[in-house]
């Protein structure tokens, strides 16, 4: 059973059309939830770490939020340059903080 599930798998937005990506997790004793952006042929680029329910972090047009079961990545008024695959990841229980299990990602396409 996947411990990190992302939805939708793919999302097409018009430029300026705000939306949210979802990451649900089933691990207990969460020790951090990580959001990354991945461009084609590149490594994951760190965006945010969230540690506790109710926590929010923002960076430009992105805002990440966390509940006890899921995290959302809200994208406000996206631009074409926001097109990428967005990954979330959590450490496995009992494993090191950076022994991460990743979701399959949401591929975001922002159309001009």
């Amino acid at each position: 059973e996947d411990q990190v599930t992302q939805s939708p798998e793919a999302l097409r937005l018009q430029e300026g059309e705000s939306s949210s990506l979802n990451c649900s997790y089933t691990v207990s004793g969460l020790r951090g939830l990580f959001w990354y952006r991945q461009d084609p042929g590149k490594g994951p680029e760190f965006l945010f770490t969230l540690y506790s329910a109710g926590e929010e972090k923002e960076k430009e047009r992105l805002k990440a939020t966390l509940t006890k079961k899921e995290s959302f990545l809200h994208i406000t008024a996206p631009k074409p340059e926001d097109s990428a695959t967005y990954l979330c990841a959590v450490p496995l229980p009992g494993a090191g903080s950076y022994q991460l299990t990743f979701g399959k990602g949401t591929k975001l396409s922002v159309i001009p």
Binding site: G43, Y98, L100
Partner: protein
């Protein structure tokens, strides 16, 4: 810019050959990791390395794999006898102390023919 530089960017090798993938961190980091991503699949943890020792490894990291930090700067992943299923992007990642984030390099694309 990534905090680690990986070389080569693309490596093509024949099945059964040995390959060495290299990672050079830009600044001092304490923790080193290798992850891989098979085309179209999830990013997967392989191994973590701290204080010149492997601290954790996954089931993927079998006897065909090894890591070392031969000169205090480079961090390498060796695959002794490559298989077709080793074809993937291999990412080096680094972290500092405390809650510093995990930063990934841009990867080496390994193609085994």
């Amino acid at each position: 810019e990534p905090e680690v530089t990986q070389t080569p960017s693309h490596q093509v090798t024949q099945m059964g050959q040995e390959v060495i993938l290299r990672c050079v961190p830009i600044s001092n980091h304490l923790y080193f990791y290798w992850y891989r991503q098979i085309l179209g699949q999830k990013v997967e943890f392989l191994v973590s390395f701290y204080n010149n020792e492997i601290s954790e490894k996954s089931e993927i990291f079998d006897d065909q794999f090894s890591v070392e930090r031969p000169d205090g700067s480079n961090f390498t992943l060796k695959i002794r006898s490559t298989k077709l299923e080793d074809s993937a992007m291999y990412f080096c990642a680094v972290a500092g102390q405390g809650h510093s984030p995990l930063h990934f390099g841009n990867g080496t694309r390994l193609t085994v023919t």
